[in-house]
Symmetry: C2
Subunit: 177 residues, 2 copies
């Protein structure tokens, strides 16, 4: 086995990676290039815990994939929904004592509430009224969602995520784009 | 050797990690928790190349550290300056054919131009005049810089980074905080 295939072997064999985590979560088969967005959106980037992240890892199943391994952290419902919107093929494994105690395919919900913002400025979900955003999922792969208030439709790359529920980002993340 | 020490061994032995990269860059001894900010600020998060990232890895030298390993990418001068501002203790290794061909301690520059914005709205560097921001580095650890125009001083956690020179972020990064 040459060194190239050693790299690929090490990066793509999930059992190997899962073996190394004592207690926590492995998010695998993330659409290539989406891991950092997932960490930012879910707030996992603020965790003080040990994390290992592989980005653009060779994968037979979905071409390139990302993988996130977090020690001592289990995801809440909001985080799982956010991940399912960004990356529909991911699988989430919960680890205890080096063993997978639960493996789940996170399904995208039929209705997405609060997590996504409608880009239509005149939409009532953007008014001063106490109305949360709400989208129907029309198609899952590729994603197509529709605002239930103004009927505007969005594909994944047109979506603006909200993270109102999140604590304020630390100052070191303050980057003007 | 128990499994805990296996994890630490795997995560902290740089030679092991560097061994696995054929050609590219290893940024090691990043201040714990700063790897994702570095990827965002330098634009490395847009790379289609294989990356491995360790966050909050146990390290004797500086308590917790981060490490970034990127296949097939070498850093430019701007990226190295950005990294030196965020993480003064990092070391950067350039890899060719699985071997370290160059190892450098990136020093923070004495004067920081363009990369950082002055938060003083009435500062001339924020006016319509064609004047780039410029800061003198007063102290390196912990960082303390001073705007050469309005003399306002900033610590690391008070700094706002500019990334005007960068190409626009992809839509999937569009997250409202």
């Amino acid at each position: 086995m040459n060194k190239d295939s050693l790299i690929n072997r090490n990066m793509s064999e999930d059992k190997l990676r899962i073996d190394k985590i004592k207690k926590g979560t492995v998010i695998d088969h993330i659409t290539g290039g989406y891991a950092l967005t997932i960490l930012n959106l879910t707030g996992l980037d603020e965790s003080p815990n040990l994390m290992t992240i592989g980005i653009n890892v060779s994968s037979n199943k979905f071409q390139k994939k990302d993988i996130i391994k977090i020690e001592g952290v289990f995801l809440n419902e909001t985080q799982m929904q956010q991940i399912s919107i960004l990356s529909p093929n991911n699988s989430i494994s919960l680890i205890e004592n080096y063993k997978v105690i639960e493996k789940k395919k996170v399904k995208i919900p039929k209705v997405i509430k609060k997590l996504v913002l409608c880009a239509n400025k005149t939409c009532i979900s953007n008014s001063d009224e106490p109305i949360d955003s709400e989208f129907s999922v029309l198609e899952e792969k590729p994603l197509k969602i529709q605002c239930v208030y103004c009927n505007r439709m969005y594909k994944l790359d047109e979506i603006t995520f909200s993270s109102k529920g999140k604590t304020e980002k630390r100052v070191k993340q303050r980057i003007i784009l």
